[in-house]
C-alpha cells in the first residue's frame, strides 16, 4: 500500500516538473491570448508615460507596440503593466509580462544571474552634467570645487564620486530625494552643476526658469545601455524581440518611413524588398507572417521616427541623437543585416 502511495506521489511530482519545463512558447501564448503583456515604467519622461487621454506613449512604449505589430499584426493589442524598479524583474520571471521595456541598463549581473536576456539596446544613455552658462565651463574637467546637485541613493551618486576622484578634483555634493527637488535646487542657484542620466537632464532643462541659460556638457561619465528584456530559455521569442528592434533600425537606415512604406513596396532595392518581406526569408525563421517588419514600420515607424517623436527635436525633451544616431551618421546604432 505504501509503495502505491509513494509511486502516486512520484508521478504527480514528475508531472508538475514536466509541466514546468514544457511550457507553451511565449509567441504561441501571446498569439493565443490575442494581446501582448508589456512591462513599462510607472512614468519616465519620453520613454513611457500615459498622456492626457490615458494612452501610453514614449520610446520604450513604441518598442512594445512594434513587438505587438510583428507578432499580432496590431500595434494596439497591448496590456501595459506599469512596474517600478524593484518588481520589474520578478514580473518578467513570473510570466506576468512577456517583455520588459523599461529603461533597464544592460549589465553583466542582470544578464547572467537573473534568468533574463537583453535583446539589444534601444537607447544609449549615460550620466552627464548640466551647468549654467554663466560658469563659462566647456568641459567637465573644469568643474573642480563645484557644488553638485544630485539625487541621493542612486548609482549616479557613486559614478560622480568615482569620476571626481579619478580626475583628482574636489566637489561639494548637495543631495536631494527626488528629480523634481534636484532640478528646483539647481534652478534656485543652490548648486552650479546638476548631474543625472543625460536623457533626464534634457527633460529637467526644459522646465528651468530660463532653459537657454543652461547647457549639457559633452562628457558622459558612465555607460547606460537601455534595452528590452525577455525571459531566458525561450529562444524563439528572444529572436522576435531582438529582430523587432533590428528591423526598426534597419528601416531607418534604408529610409523606409511610416509615410512611404507602401510606396517602398515598389522599390527595386533588394535590401528594402527583403525588409518588407517581398523577397528572402521573410518571417519564416521567426515563425511570423512575411510582412512582420512591414507592420512594424506601417503602424509604429522606424527607429528614427520613434526617437524624434518621443525624445528628439519634435518632443519637449529635445535630445540630440548623439550616440543613438545610426552608425553611418556618427552614432553607434547598428543592426545586423536582415537577409
Amino acid at each position: 500500500m505504501r509503495k502505491i502511495t509513494w509511486s502516486i506521489v512520484a508521478v504527480v511530482v514528475a508531472l508538475f516538473i514536466s509541466a514546468g519545463i514544457a511550457q507553451a512558447s511565449t509567441k504561441d501564448e501571446v498569439q493565443k491570448r490575442g494581446y501582448l503583456q508589456c512591462g513599462v515604467s510607472t512614468g519616465l519622461p519620453g520613454f513611457s508615460n500615459p498622456d492626457e487621454k490615458g494612452h501610453w506613449t514614449g520610446l520604450d512604449v513604441d518598442v512594445c507596440k512594434a513587438i505587438a505589430a510583428a507578432t499580432l499584426g496590431d500595434a494596439t493589442k497591448i496590456k501595459y503593466v506599469p512596474l517600478n524598479a524593484k518588481e520589474r524583474f520578478t514580473a518578467l520571471q513570473s510570466g506576468e509580462i512577456d517583455a520588459l521595456v523599461r529603461g533597464t541598463t544592460w549589465t553583466l549581473t542582470r544578464d547572467s544571474s537573473l534568468g533574463l536576456n537583453f535583446t539589444g539596446v534601444n537607447y544609449y544613455d549615460g550620466q552627464g552634467f548640466l551647468v549654467s552658462k554663466k560658469m563659462g565651463v566647456k568641459s567637465a574637467l573644469e568643474l573642480d570645487g563645484a557644488a553638485v546637485c544630485i539625487q541621493g541613493g542612486t548609482t549616479t551618486e557613486l559614478n560622480l564620486a568615482d569620476y571626481f576622484k579619478e580626475n583628482k578634483m574636489e566637489y561639494k555634493p548637495v543631495v536631494f530625494d527626488t528629480h523634481d527637488a534636484t532640478a528646483k535646487a539647481f534652478d534656485n542657484g543652490r548648486c552650479d552643476v546638476l548631474t543625472s542620466d543625460q536623457s533626464q537632464l534634457y527633460g529637467l532643462r526644459t522646465h528651468l526658469t530660463k532653459p537657454e541659460d543652461a547647457v549639457v556638457l559633452p562628457e558622459v561619465i558612465s555607460k547606460e545601455p537601455l534595452g528590452p528584456v525577455v525571459r531566458q530559455g525561450d529562444d524563439a521569442w528572444f529572436n522576435i524581440v531582438k529582430w523587432t528592434l533590428n528591423a526598426m533600425i534597419e528601416a531607418e537606415e534604408m529610409g523606409v518611413t511610416q509615410a512611404n512604406v507602401d510606396e517602398m513596396k515598389n522599390s527595386n532595392n533588394p535590401g528594402v524588398r527583403r525588409l518588407l518581406g517581398l523577397d528572402g526569408i521573410g518571417g519564416k525563421g521567426l515563425g511570423l507572417n512575411d510582412d512582420w517588419a512591414y507592420q512594424i514600420i506601417k503602424q509604429v515607424g522606424n527607429y528614427g521616427e520613434a526617437f524624434e517623436r518621443n525624445v528628439g527635436m519634435s518632443s519637449p525633451l529635445k535630445i540630440e541623437r548623439g550616440l543613438n544616431a545610426l552608425w553611418s551618421k556618427g552614432g553607434i546604432m547598428y543592426a545586423p543585416p536582415l537577409r
Binding site: P45, K86, S94
Partner: protein, 367 residues
C-alpha cells in the same frame, strides 16, 4: 423719614473690556505681556503665509486652457489638473464606460445615506440589499462581462475610483472579520482562540508595504504560471487581512471595557452565547470604540496609496505618472496639492461623521 428702595437697582452692563469681541480678545489673546507678544508674532506669521498662498492658489492661478502655454507661471497652474481631471478620477477606464463607475458610486452613496440618516424607513431591507446584492451589482458594473456590458480589466482601473474601491472594500470586509477575530481571541475555545491570536499577531507584526510586496513580487513566483491571480485582488486581500487584524484589536478593547455584570445578567436571563453577544455585548462595545474604528478607517483610506509601489495607479500614483509627461514637467506642486485636498476632505468628513455618531449614541457612559 427714611426712604427704602425695595426693588434692586438694575444691573450695570459689564465693563466693555470684558464682553464681546474685545473681551474675548483680552481674555484669550492678550491676557499677559508674554501672551500679547506671542499673539503678535502669530498674527505676523499668518500674514506672511496666508496671503501669498491664497494669491498663488486662487487669484494668480490659471484655470482654463489645454496646454502649458495657458499658464502664466505667476500662480498655480490648475490647467494641469483640469486637463487630466478625468484620468485622475477614472485612471485608464474607457471614457465611454465612465457612466458605470458613476452609477456604481452613486448607488452606494445613496444606500449608505439611507442607512445613516435616521428618518428613512425599512433600514433592515436596505441593509440586507447593501450587504448581499450591492457587491454583485458593483462587480458587474465595474468589471462587466454580463448583461451586454463590455469587460474592463482591472489594470485599467485607476485614479480616485481605485482609491475608493480599495478603501470601501477594505472597510466593509475588515470590520466583520475584525469582530469575529476579536470574539475568537476572547473565546474560551482553545483552537478558535489560538487561531485568532496567530492571525492577528502575524498580520499586525508585518508592515503593510511588506504585505503588498509579498503579494505582488513573491506570490507570483510560488504559483504556477497558468494560475494568475489578479494583481488588484492580491493587493486587496493583503489590505483586508492587514486591516482586520488592527480592527480586531480595536474591537477587543471595547469588549474588555464591558463590565462582567453585563455577561452575568445575560446568562441569568438564559440568553445563549450568540444572543448575548449580538444583543447585549457588541452594541455596547462597538459604541465605545467608534473613535478607534473610524481611526482605523481613516488610516486604511490613506494607506491605500501604498499600492503605488506595486504599480497600481491609485489617485496619488496616477497624478505622479502625469508629472512624467514631458509636456507637463514641473507642475508637481499643483498635483500634490490637489491630491492632498481630496484626501483631507474625505478624512475630515469621516471624522465629523464619527463625532456626530458618538453624540447620537451617547447614553451616559462618557464622563
Amino acid at each position: 423719614m427714611a426712604v427704602y428702595i425695595t426693588t434692586p437697582s438694575p444691573a450695570l452692563p459689564p465693563p466693555s473690556t470684558s464682553v464681546g469681541v474685545l473681551g474675548w480678545m483680552r481674555k484669550n489673546l492678550f491676557s499677559s505681556f508674554a501672551n500679547s507678544i506671542l499673539t503678535l508674532i502669530g498674527v505676523y506669521l499668518l500674514f506672511l503665509i496666508i496671503p501669498p498662498t491664497i494669491n498663488w492658489a486662487l487669484f494668480q492661478a490659471d484655470w482654463v486652457g489645454t496646454s502649458r502655454e495657458a499658464c502664466s507661471g505667476e500662480g498655480a497652474c490648475w490647467v494641469f489638473v483640469t486637463v487630466r481631471f478625468q484620468q485622475f478620477m477614472f485612471g485608464f477606464y474607457p471614457p465611454s464606460e465612465y457612466w458605470r463607475v458613476v452609477v456604481a458610486f452613486s448607488l452606494v452613496g445613496f444606500l449608505i445615506a439611507w442607512l445613516l440618516i435616521e428618518e428613512t424607513p425599512k433600514k433592515g431591507l436596505v441593509g440586507i440589499f447593501t450587504i448581499f446584492c450591492y457587491p454583485v451589482i458593483a462587480y458587474l458594473l465595474f468589471y462587466g462581462g454580463a448583461l451586454g456590458l463590455p469587460v474592463v480589466e482591472t489594470h485599467k482601473w485607476g485614479g480616485l475610483m481605485l482609491t475608493l474601491i480599495l478603501a470601501t472594500i477594505g472597510m466593509f470586509c475588515a470590520l466583520p472579520i475584525g469582530i469575529v477575530l476579536a470574539l475568537g481571541r476572547r473565546s474560551t475555545m482553545p483552537i478558535a482562540k489560538s487561531l485568532s491570536v496567530v492571525f492577528i499577531e502575524f498580520w499586525r507584526g508585518v508592515p503593510l508595504i511588506t504585505v503588498l510586496f509579498m503579494s505582488s513580487v513573491m506570490l507570483p513566483i510560488f504559483m504556477p504560471e497558468e494560475l494568475q491571480i489578479d494583481k488588484l485582488l492580491r493587493a486587496l486581500i493583503g489590505i483586508v487581512f492587514f486591516q482586520s487584524a488592527y480592527m480586531a484589536e480595536v474591537v477587543r478593547g471595547g469588549l474588555q471595557a464591558i463590565p462582567k455584570g453585563q455577561y452575568e445578567a445575560a446568562e441569568a436571563l438564559g440568553l445563549s452565547y450568540w444572543k448575548c453577544t449580538f444583543f447585549i455585548i457588541l452594541p455596547q462595545a462597538l459604541k465605545l470604540v467608534i473613535p478607534g474604528i473610524v481611526n482605523t478607517f481613516i488610516a486604511l483610506f490613506k494607506d491605500t496609496t501604498l499600492v503605488l509601489i506595486i504599480g497600481l495607479f491609485d489617485l496619488l500614483a496616477v497624478v505622479q505618472s502625469a508629472f512624467a509627461d514631458a509636456k507637463w514637467i514641473g507642475y508637481s506642486v499643483e498635483g500634490y496639492v490637489f491630491v492632498a485636498g481630496i484626501y483631507w476632505i474625505s478624512c475630515f468628513s469621516m471624522s465629523r461623521y464619527s463625532q456626530y455618531l458618538e453624540r447620537k449614541l451617547h447614553t451616559g457612559h462618557a464622563r
